[in-house]
């Protein structure tokens, strides 16, 4: 029991992102309102961003910025002092992607609203049935 607890605690970042992800999935699957679904989608993507950033983390390391100017790299740089920059880089990309997806999704939602005057799935379905 205790060691299970320790596992859970030591891996808290994983649990965190899993919980977020599940919230997102839940919203996408269960919610009937399209905008809520879209929100769920963003949460889902954010969960993964969170996961990536968290795996870049190291104990007592600083942000990956070497404190000197342009004059080349005379003094050695200890990679240990800096948290791993790569996940951050990747996540910059992922964030942009999720923003873009969000934009397109919202645009589609607006189109849908123009077409059916509703964002509730069941209302839309009933309209489709009628046709």
């Amino acid at each position: 029991m205790v060691d299970l607890l320790t596992i859970i605690i030591s891996k808290y970042n994983y649990w965190g992102y899993i919980v977020l992800m599940m919230i997102g999935l839940y919203a996408m699957i269960v919610k009937k309102n399209l905008v809520k679904k879209i929100i769920g989608m963003s949460i889902f993507q954010t969960a993964i961003i969170f996961f990536y950033v968290s795996i870049g983390m190291k104990k007592n390391a600083t942000i990956p910025i070497i404190s000197h100017g342009h004059d080349g790299g005379e003094h050695a740089v200890h990679a240990v002092d800096f948290i791993n920059p790569l996940p951050h880089v990747l996540m910059l990309t992922a964030i942009v992607v999720s923003v873009a997806t969000l934009g397109v999704a919202l645009a589609l939602a607006i189109k849908i609203y123009q077409q059916y005057n509703s964002l509730e799935e069941d209302e839309i379905d009933s309209q489709i049935k009628v046709k």
């Binding site: 942000i63 990956p64 910025i65 070497i66 404190s67 000197h68 100017g69 342009h70 004059d71 080349g72 790299g73 740089v77 800096f82 920059p85 790569l86 951050h88 880089v89 990747l90 910059l92 990309t93 964030i95 942009v96 992607v97 923003v99 873009a100 997806t101 934009g103 397109v104 919202l106 645009a107 589609l108 607006i110 189109k111 123009q114």
Partner: protein, 231 residues
């Protein structure tokens, strides 16, 4: 990390080692912008049967029937539409007051990207936010007067041109795509510094593109592509 002489490793990796990814995320944001245009933009406006004009000084509103319109020379009148709500003075003034500072900060973030946290995306987003704030605090039409749709489109193509162009330039200079060290020959610096300059250039490009796309997304979404009213 010595071979780029860029202290901010994130930026270095972002714009140089994995510069190719970054170019594509610029492409992603670009295609998102086009996608919105493509989906929402209504090219031919449907004729409203009347136009509303407001006399800025007195706040009297004229309703002009079909076809008629005031001459553009009538500066003291501004066109408004059905959803128009009177400006809230506080918001308007606050907006006017802080927007310049936001923009200065954004430019700083872009330009100083590889010495301190920040870079093209962050700066671009902030810059875009400033325009959006303006559009919110006033209304879309006045925002469009400041920054028209065509101008925005121009900006965000310009941004990606800068990025991809830099890469292509490297090919023309005989190196691999996006190999900034090739730029040394035309920037008259040693390859390492050339890399840092190259990074700066593409960061600027990214900044412009992101800003413009944010704005165009906002324009399209709030006015459902009609580009007249909106929030």
């Amino acid at each position: 990390m010595e071979d780029t002489s860029v202290p901010n490793i994130v930026t270095a990796v972002l714009a140089d080692y994995r510069g190719y990814d970054t170019m594509f995320e610029t492409a992603v944001i670009f295609s998102a912008g086009i996608a919105c245009l493509f989906l929402l933009r209504q090219m031919k406006r449907k004729k409203t049967d009347f136009r509303l004009y407001r006399h800025t000084a007195t706040g009297i509103i004229f309703r002009i029937e079909k076809g008629g319109k005031l001459p553009p020379t009538a500066k003291e009148f501004e066109r408004i539409d059905g959803l128009w709500t009177p400006y809230d003075l506080i918001i308007k003034t606050t907006g006017r007051f802080i927007i310049p500072f936001i923009q200065i900060f954004a430019l700083y973030v872009i330009a100083h990207g590889h010495h301190s946290p920040g870079g093209g995306f962050q700066g671009g987003v902030i810059l875009g936010a400033s325009f959006i704030l303006f559009a919110i605090s006033h209304d879309l039409r006045s925002a469009l007067n400041r920054m028209s749709e065509k101008l925005t489109a121009f900006f965000y193509t310009l941004g990606v041109y800068i990025y991809a162009g830099t890469g292509a330039l490297c090919i023309l200079l005989g190196a691999n795509f996006l190999d900034y060290s090739a730029l040394a020959t035309i920037l008259f610096v040693d390859p390492v510094t050339a890399r840092s300059h190259g990074i700066l250039i593409v960061e600027i490009g990214v900044g412009i593109a992101v800003m413009a796309v944010m704005v165009i997304l906002y324009y399209n979404l709030v006015s459902a592509g009609k580009f007249d009213e909106g929030l």
